[in-house]
């Protein structure tokens, strides 16, 4: 046992000596560098593994962060879309309001009661032929002739006015035409399309003067089947064509005039 204790004491003495003398032994630093360099070879797989784990952790964390940011951006984008839609709608409304020119009905002759009437706005007020005329937002007819201070409006009930329209529920295209006797008809609708009473009719995209989407009226009933595959329907106009005192004319947008 004495031998082991002797060795132990020598080792302890050596240990204490090295610990005490380490600040002055510069050789230890060089030796430390050598040991580090030698051990870097067997330690290499551990270093690679550590870096892989660290990179994976960082990638995973970044991925989670990015996913969170993506969700936040999606949410923000949805809100911005809603805000943008509201702003666009308000812009459209403001533009339409600015383009709507109020006019008073000045003449409606009994012999052409269901064909035309005159309004007190003319060329000097920016009225041109073909502009749509509305009452309470529903199409009444189109400007037929223009003079300096007045214009004539061709009514929906006139057999001379044909307006391309769309059935909003089925997206079927047809033509609205009057019978000259107070009725308004929807023609050229293919048979068996499931058109029902109450379906809404609005203007279709036909030209720059009459924008699409303006309400015209609703389906009242089917009147005839032509036999060539098309049906005709009676429609109830949204405007009160029998009580026209004042109307609005949708003027040409500035961009289109240019």
């Amino acid at each position: 046992m004495t031998r082991e204790w002797a060795h132990g004491l020598v080792a302890l003495t050596l240990g204490f000596f090295l610990l005490g003398a380490s600040p002055t032994i510069t050789f230890l630093r060089s030796l430390s560098n050598v040991v580090g360099n030698v051990l870097s070879v067997p330690e290499y797989p551990a270093v690679i593994t550590r870096e892989f784990v660290r990179d994976f952790y960082l990638w995973s964390r970044d991925k989670n962060e990015l996913a969170g940011q993506l969700e936040a951006l999606k949410d923000e984008n949805s809100k911005l879309r809603i805000i943008n839609s509201v702003l666009v709608a308000e812009q459209i409304k403001a533009e339409l309001d600015s383009r709507m020119n109020g006019a008073r009905v000045t003449l409606r002759e009994p012999n052409s009661w269901w064909n035309e009437f005159r309004i007190d706005k003319g060329f000097n007020d920016g009225i041109i032929m073909g502009l749509p005329v509305f009452q309470d937002g529903f199409l009444v007819g189109r400007i037929n002739s223009v003079s300096t201070h007045s214009s004539w409006v061709e009514l929906l009930t006139s057999s001379a006015l044909m307006i391309p329209v769309v059935v909003e529920e089925t997206r079927d295209l047809g033509v609205v035409v009057g019978d000259g006797d107070g009725s308004v008809l929807l023609t050229y609708i293919p048979e068996g399309r499931g058109i029902e009473r109450g379906m809404k009719i609005s203007t279709a995209l036909v030209g720059e003067l009459l924008p699409p989407g303006f309400p015209v009226g609703v389906i009242r009933e089917e009147v005839t089947m032509s036999g060539n595959g098309y049906s005709t329907y009676k429609i109830t106009p949204g405007a009160s064509l029998g009580k026209l005192y004042s109307v609005s004319v949708l003027k040409h947008s500035r961009g289109l005039l240019e």
């Binding site: 060795h7 090295l18 580090g36 551990a46």
Partner: protein
């Protein structure tokens, strides 16, 4: 064999970026050798502890700290082991010796080398001891398995 444990401890420390201290696999292997090798291995174990500790110091610490610690621990365990009667070498005592052997360098390193890190040093010490308990249990298990095979 103890060299492999030294390397395992070193590689695990590299893997943990040196931030978390690993259980003293090397020291536990020396203690295991003391318990199982008889008196013939005492002197080699003392010098293995010294040079293994020195190598560890050169790799990780910079000053010859663990060389001294390991020799102290080996001598203390040696003394305790020789005063312990055969009947007293129970599972619990063996586990306690393994655990206590690695406890001393761990405590001293926190007190001496990591005293400026404050609570962080003690937190890492806690983590190390959390890992050291199962390793000590495993060492005790292998000791009894070795004894069983020897007596068979």
């Amino acid at each position: 064999m103890t060299g492999i444990f030294w390397l395992v401890q070193d590689l695990l420390t590299v893997l943990m970026s040196g931030a978390v201290r690993m259980p003293e696999f090397f020291l536990l292997s020396l203690v295991y050798r003391l318990f199982t090798g008889g008196r013939d291995v005492y002197v080699p174990v003392i010098w293995t502890a010294f040079f293994g500790g020195l190598l560890w110091d050169l790799r990780w610490v910079g000053i010859p700290f663990f060389a001294l610690c390991y020799v102290v621990v080996v001598m203390m365990v040696m003394a305790a082991w020789n005063t312990l009667p055969s009947s007293g070498r129970t599972v619990f005592i063996i586990f306690l010796l393994f655990w206590a052997a690695q406890l001393l360098p761990a405590v001293l390193s926190v007190l001496v080398l990591e005293r400026k890190t404050g609570n962080v040093g003690w937190t890492l010490f806690g983590v190390q001891q959390g890992c050291a308990v199962p390793v000590s249990l495993l060492s005790a298990f292998f000791y009894f398995k070795h004894e069983k095979n020897r007596n068979a």
